[in-house]
């Protein structure tokens, strides 16, 4: 082991039921280094960290530390004792204990605590970090940002060799982030190795020395910060090469729509409680547009705000030019908006019911909305859509659970189409389904648009978006940072807009 290297993780494997979260990932950390761990949401960053701190048991691979050689870490307690202190992505403190207790519980030996001492120490630490909380205050009575700072205070106060910060900045304001960076630099100068996970690119280039990129549970590579410009980093995270030849705009660009000029939906200054910055958005009749950006950049949150799926904080919304109020999904549905969510497990299918019954399910719940259907008509429609969407099933009466994932997906889509919405939002409709079905769905989207439906389409695969959308709203760090249409609709342009900052590829 290299003498300056304080942590070596080699060939780490971790599988959850149905997901290979990590596959043979290597990760190395040196003394006095701030090392960014990057990747889209779901890339496996948090899992790698939890394997390191003993929250999850790894399925394979080795972990070695400076001085101790290979170690087996079975619990967060073990990790703490080995000098690894962690701020997890989710706040992992106990809301019913005091601030001071949260900072000191689980540390040190012996049963008896000197409470006075603990509270004074905590008070001192809180003051030195300018955290507006009292040591004896119950944690639940602090704001989320303060709780996050308390977690950080706890972690930095421990005598540690490795400090792990998993997206600690998501709920902090600028000043607090600066304070944190000050602390990180201070610890770095004392030789602590820091693993820093964030999705804010600016922050990476501000404090980090090295970057390790993960994608879909696999290691993409380790880079010196100076060797990896922003655009390259984005390309690595997305799994695209910057000057990829396939970049020529596919099939003559997205569908342009009948330019009727009439806005079907319009939002001004819309903001939800899901942490996105206020944004403006509109879509014309027969238009297909999309939100793009890295996973976790807030694109799903935007459409959720449109649909009223998260609590809307402010903004005004117009449907067909008339102001409407959308507070809950049902309001949106009444306005003629349909939304296929990203997390289909929630929306779900009823496994034992037949394909046809699953298609007309929503109708039974929602009779009265949109254009009402008679039962016979609904059945006929279901049968029609089974054909139209090319749903591969033995018959309309086959239980849906025997269908493949992609075909189940189409059934859910058909369910929404049955409602004849004016505006259809599809969040990742093609994830996890086979190529053939993907093409079917893309074709369908274009067909629906040509019939006058407006569609917002979100996909992690930019080529797919380029093929279907005529306008792309680009997001970075939960903010709309650009809008691309016409000749700007290229892979390169998307990536450089996502990367932002100084970089022009």
């Amino acid at each position: 082991m290299n003498e300056k290297r304080i942590l070596e993780m080699r060939g780490i494997d971790k599988t959850f039921p149905g997901v290979r979260a990590l596959q043979g990932v290597d990760f190395f950390l040196n003394e006095g280094e701030i090392h960014a761990l990057m990747g889209e949401n779901g890339a496996g960053k948090s899992t790698l960290i939890k394997v390191l701190t003993g929250v999850y048991t790894k399925d394979g691979g080795t972990i070695s530390l400076q001085g101790t050689g290979e170690v087996q870490i079975h619990s967060p307690q073990d990790a703490q004792n080995l000098g690894i202190s962690t701020v997890y992505q989710e706040i992992t403190l106990c809301p019913n204990l005091t601030v001071a207790e949260n900072m000191y519980i689980g540390r040190g030996k012996g049963q008896i605590t000197n409470w006075k001492q603990m509270n004074t120490d905590a008070e001192k630490l809180l003051r030195s970090l300018d955290i507006p909380a009292k040591a004896t205050q119950q944690l639940a009575s602090c704001s989320i940002a303060v709780q996050q700072m308390v977690a950080i205070a706890r972690a930095v106060d421990m005598e540690c060799k490795v400090l792990i910060l998993d997206e600690p900045t998501s709920s902090l304001d600028e000043q607090e982030v600066e304070k944190l960076f000050g602390l990180m630099r201070d610890l770095k100068s004392r030789g602590v190795g820091i693993i820093f996970v964030t999705h804010f690119l600016d922050q990476v280039y501000e404090v980090c020395d090295k970057i390790t990129v993960l994608r879909d549970g696999q290691l993409v590579g380790e880079y010196e910060i100076k060797d990896l410009p922003r655009v390259q980093l984005v390309a690595k995270m997305l799994g695209k090469e910057m000057d990829d030849l396939s970049d020529i705009k596919g099939e003559g660009g997205g569908y342009q729509g009948k330019d009727s000029g009439e806005d079907v939906f319009e939002a001004k200054d819309l903001q939800s409680d899901a942490g996105i910055k206020p944004f403006d958005f509109h879509i014309k009749k027969g238009e297909v547009n999309g939100f793009t950006g890295l996973l976790g950049s807030g694109r799903s949150e935007c459409v959720r705000a449109i649909f009223g799926a998260d609590r809307v904080l402010k903004g005004s919304v117009k449907m067909h030019g008339k102001p409407v109020k959308i507070a809950k999904p049902i309001d949106a549905m009444k306005c003629g908006i349909a939304y296929l969510p990203e997390d289909r497990k929630v929306d779900g299918i009823v496994g034992d019911l037949s394909v046809r019954e699953n298609i007309i399910l929503a109708l039974q719940v929602l009779t009265g909305f949109f254009k009402p259907f008679s039962r016979a008509k609904a059945n006929a429609f279901a049968d029609e859509y089974i054909k139209k969407l090319n749903i591969k099933t033995a018959s309309a009466d086959t239980p849906i659970k025997s269908l493949s994932g992609g075909n189940q997906q189409k059934v859910i889509l058909a369910r929404w189409l049955l409602m004849h919405p004016d505006y259809l939002i599809l969040d990742e409709p093609t994830r996890g389904i086979d190529v053939g079905t993907k093409v079917d769905i893309q074709k369908l989207v274009l067909e629906l648009a040509s019939e006058g439906m407006s569609v917002t389409f979100i996909s992690s695969e930019t080529d797919e978006m380029l093929r279907t959308c005529s306008r792309l709203v680009v997001m970075r760090d939960r903010k709309v940072v650009g809008e691309l249409s016409g000749d700007d609709l290229t892979q390169n342009k998307i990536m450089s807009t996502i990367a932002g900052g100084e970089s022009k590829a």
């Binding site: 701190t53 967060p76 307690q77 403190l93 019913n96 204990l97 689980g106 540390r107 639940a140 009575s141």
Partner: protein, 345 residues
């Protein structure tokens, strides 16, 4: 964030646990005053209060154990059964096996510990639902006590009866009866044991690391794990201590009633849960206070006294009043907590 300071009124600064404790104590005093108003002087005599303690020492102890597991986010409904099992075992040992006091105490502690050990292991290490585990435990204990001895009998052992009849006078609390004779107020040994345990548990829960771990695990199991707490061991210990307390309570129970019967302590687990809840322990875990539990037991039996004193001695009247009281407490608790939450926002 800047708003943090201006919002810290006393109401929001006090912890959930202490807030609920305050509610409990206030309600107990209101209730006791009510008892004095409705039932007259009886309740003004200190001995009346001490009798409540005498009659409920075993319940206080089981309720303490119950609060402990509830704070950890678990439950143990076997405690009533354990009290019955322990009291029959000890009675049989004392009378039919010429047992001595020391041995009988060992039996009580042993049975209780064994119960806690097995149940704790199943709940903490094998991750079986605590409700199911202790339900099985309850049936087992009741069944076992019937096997040990079915018929009702009074313990004859002299030493035991001497212990049972020991009265510890409380100085200055006595009263003068109609004939002008001073009658000292007294408590039984069980009360001393119960109060001692209350104090010990209070200190453990309030000031030791183990005690705070119980709260941490009950507050958020996953967080507690990440904070470096051994969650399994903490859960195990909570059940172990609860079992031990049930064992001790069984002996205290026997000391009070002096007789063995398989029906001893029927429904005590439910009274223990009710007392804990009235005392401000939350079923969801992480919030609770042993002093509150003590007041919970006192409130519960004061209510029972009021009900029976009003000539409504039937079991169902007691049941109905306890039920409405529980509802009242839960409503007050949730209203106050909701108010507090609103004040924080």
């Amino acid at each position: 964030m800047k708003a943090e300071n201006k919002k810290s009124s006393i109401f929001t600064r006090v912890s959930d646990t202490n807030l609920l404790l305050a509610i409990t104590i206030v309600i107990f005093f209101l209730m006791y005053i009510g008892a004095i108003l409705f039932q007259g002087e009886g309740f003004l005599k200190p001995q009346k209060f001490f009798d409540i303690l005498n009659n409920n020492s075993a319940l206080i102890i089981t309720a303490c154990g119950m609060s402990l597991v509830m704070i950890t986010g678990s439950i143990d409904i076997s405690v009533g059964g354990v009290v019955a099992l322990v009291s029959t075992c000890c009675a049989v040992y004392l009378d039919f096996h010429e047992g001595n006091i020391f041995g009988s105490i060992l039996i009580a502690i042993g049975v209780g510990l064994l119960y806690g050990l097995v149940q704790g292991f199943l709940v903490a290490y094998l991750d079986i639902q605590p409700f199911i585990v202790s339900l099985a435990g309850m049936f087992f204990a009741r069944g076992m006590s019937t096997i040990v001895h079915t018929a009702h009998f009074n313990v004859a052992s002299d030493v035991f009866n001497a212990l049972k009849n020991t009265r510890i006078n409380v100085p200055g609390m006595g009263s003068v009866n109609r004939k002008g004779i001073y009658i000292p107020a007294y408590v039984e040994i069980g009360v001393i044991v119960a109060l001692l345990l209350v104090v010990i548990l209070f200190i453990v829960l309030r000031w030791t690391k183990l005690g705070r771990s119980f709260y941490a695990v009950g507050g958020n199991k996953q967080s507690a794990l990440m904070l470096g707490i051994n969650v399994k061991r903490t859960k195990f210990l909570a059940h172990l201590i609860c079992g031990l307390l049930a064992g001790i309570a069984g002996y205290v129970y026997l000391l009070h009633v002096g007789s063995s019967s398989a029906d001893n302590a029927m429904g005590m687990e439910m009274n223990a849960i009710a007392s804990s809840i009235i005392g401000g322990t939350m079923l969801t875990g992480g919030v609770g206070n042993i002093i509150g539990t003590l007041f919970g037991v006192l409130s519960l039996s004061t209510i029972q006294n009021i009900v029976s004193g009003a000539g409504l001695g039937d079991a169902w009247w007691t049941g109905i009043t306890i039920a409405s009281m529980l509802c009242l407490f839960l409503v007050i608790q949730s209203v106050v907590m909701a108010q507090k939450k609103r004040a924080l926002e």
